[in-house]
Subunit: 424 residues, 2 copies
């Protein structure tokens, strides 16, 4: 067995050492490269100044790989490029491919500041950045002891760095070091389950030889099962699905609306919605998706009671009798928007997001969901969320609506599903 | 004026470099000591191994103060005490006060493992730990260049470290360096302006002696002006406001809707909206705010053209004639939702978020905004956003709507404002 590979992580940003912002990169990089078999010997957080140079030269020749983030912006503060070029003993040269991409992105000739961003150390390879103007780059430097050190440099903004690291840098690292152990990995996406409950579920459902790890992502937690046989990992995943509810655990990496949208497209269906406490959050999530106009009609965000009357023609008398947060109102909202829109199916959400507005019968966190469609009976279900915060109630209500609507239009009964959700 | 004091932060813990847990100390320490006037030159995260020794000896004699956290536990993995004693050239000796406290805490004679925790470098002072068994300690080491370096060592668990740092360590630091006054600082919130343009604006508007820093936050960039006199900082801020547009630069730390909501509450006004390309994003942002039901009626998310007809009763003929993304449609959307809702003012948004749907006359990034109110003439303005991404167009359109609505209801003309927005 070869010696363990070593890595250093260098997070660059003056605002980090001033404590203005919290670093979000070090943990992600460390966790992923540890999984690949590297030993991270040090994480360093430094300001955008000449101190970087000394730190890099300490690492070069001593570790196999250095990851840097930050300092790739267009301003003169952003000196990572020149520091690395200096360490490698090469000049900064404009990268042709990067220039083309930049022109395409800006739809204009780039200015001097932006041009700085595409001047990379000579001989280094570019790593494209689809979500920002600063490309990353990587190359090899020979250290004092003739030991090669690879430097991989990524931008600082979280979304840019994450996209680049997960989708581009990790494959490069695997290829450079011929790491193939990835065959032993099974991934799943977990919705609505708090991290601590997921950890508990993994322990309860553990299969000997299978390790697990999680990562909090947008709208989901990713679960990674590693080691053990493929069969063992799948067995553990099935146990977890049974334990938490199969609707909350999807195999593979996916968003909570993927199954829904797949079905809508397959069936050529159009949906509409009516939202009260979520204030348009479901609608926002759905319209984030390019091409959503093919299957999404729109939503009535009926926040105020009078909006339920005037946009949806729900009678004030019914609202008064049952309350805005009730089975009857949720049903009426879904049915009215289905009718008005002429869509094939509709969802509705009405609840108490807090922090105020709760009562003993309807405490903060009470949310009613309604579902209606042209080809089956309408239905409504209530979920009582733990009221950690207004944001958390709204977020979980939106995810629940998406997951339940998917099941509803596929002919399942939302009530049967929600009954089994013990851990949300 | 004495030279700026320098600090280094050393976070010790193997689970941190493996990415198993997220560090929570570095930012707290950095932020607090920066406020006291220190310059943090480096934050290092290292495993509990002999690497710590080399890092400390690099810092000793080079910085004024070193903060360490972690490695003070009872097990043999916890080597911080012995590493620091070694760096100071002294032995570890049992601290009498610490022993007394430990006996009191354990209500029993301490075992060998616990006794390790109260063996401190000879000559160092103890820092009591009221929430755990490991006391902290501090002392001075003379470095190679005869420069003194203070080392302050704190335990790793978050609650223990926080209590000790905030209540005990900070007072010690202030006393050691005779720090009585915290640095002057002026803060502002910047909306819609890309970071690179903000940097340019700061350079153009620079006032000698004033330093600046920025931080990307939710829905805004925070700008910090430091050093210089209060007057100088305010003068620079006013220059920046003039340069970028006063509507895009608010003094203080605030969200892009704060001025709007303040006015709505003051006036007892209710607003409503109609959104197409933003899909409910403005509505989502507004309803994130607790108590929004007092001033927010709701929104018609009329994503599909038929939704504009059926929810807002805009004629299909008019939509066909002018297009969904047009001055006429934006005006009609705002006026119709104003009428339907019976609110005091209304906004509308209709645009092309992309990536598809653009035409030569209406490329991706074209967004029309409409504003209507009960007491003035309706108006509509068009903004052409750079189409970096669908998400970016939607995000900036939502922020623009919030800022323009604030100005509209305060009697200003959105067209005059938008005309001066050169940098969004």
């Amino acid at each position: 067995m070869r010696q363990k590979l070593t890595a250093a992580v260098c997070i660059i940003g003056t605002e980090l050492v001033r404590g203005i912002i919290q670093d979000g990169h070090a943990r992600l990089i460390s966790a992923e490269v540890t999984t690949l078999g590297f030993s991270v010997v040090q994480i360093v957080i430094v300001p955008d100044d000449n101190g970087i140079s000394r730190i890099l030269s300490d690492f070069i020749g001593n570790v196999d790989i250095i990851f840097t983030t930050g300092g790739l912006g267009p301003t003169t503060d952003d000196i990572t490029r020149s520091v690395i070029a200096h360490a490698a003993g090469v000049d900064l040269v404009e990268d042709k491919d990067a220039r083309e991409q930049l022109v395409k992105r800006l739809k204009n000739e780039p200015g001097e500041a932006n041009l700085n961003q595409i001047r990379l150390p000579d001989g280094f390879s570019i790593i494209p950045n689809p979500v920002g103007t600063a490309p990353g780059f990587y190359g090899t430097i020979i250290g004092r002891k003739k030991k090669n050190t690879v430097i991989i440099s990524m931008p600082g903004p979280l979304v840019e760095m994450q996209e680049m690291f997960l989708n581009r840098v990790l494959p490069i690292v695997k290829q450079l070091y011929n790491i193939t152990q990835e065959q032993g990995r099974t991934e799943a996406s977990i919705f609505l389950i708090p991290e601590s409950h997921l950890e508990e579920a993994c322990r309860v459902c553990a299969v000997p030889g299978v390790e697990w790890g999680t990562r909090i992502q947008q709208l989901r937690i990713s679960l990674y099962l590693k080691s053990g046989s493929n069969e063992d990992r799948n067995r553990m995943l099935e146990k977890i699905r049974g334990y938490l509810g199969p609707e909350l655990v999807f195999p593979g990496d996916g968003m909570p609306y993927e199954s829904l949208i797949l079905y809508l497209k397959e069936q050529g269906m159009m949906i509409a919605g009516a939202e009260s406490c979520t204030g348009g959050l479901v609608s926002k999530i759905l319209t984030d998706i390019p091409g959503s106009s093919y299957w999404f009609w729109g939503t009535a965000v009926t926040y105020h009671d009078s909006a339920k009357e005037r946009l949806l023609q729900i009678s004030g008398k019914s609202l008064e009798q049952h309350g805005a947060v009730s089975c009857e109102t949720a049903l009426a909202m879904a049915e009215r928007i289905l009718h008005i829109s002429g869509s094939d199916a509709a969802y509705s959400i009405s609840g108490i997001a807090g922090p105020e507005g709760g009562t003993p019968e309807k405490p903060v966190g009470t949310v009613w969901f309604g579902f209606a469609s042209t080809d089956r009976k309408s239905t409504a279900v209530r979920i009582q969320f733990n009221a950690y915060s207004r944001g958390s109630v709204r977020h979980r209500a939106a995810l629940s609506a998406l997951l339940l609507l998917d099941n509803f239009i596929r002919g399942k009964e939302p009530l049967d599903i929600v009954d089994k959700w013990q851990y949300i």
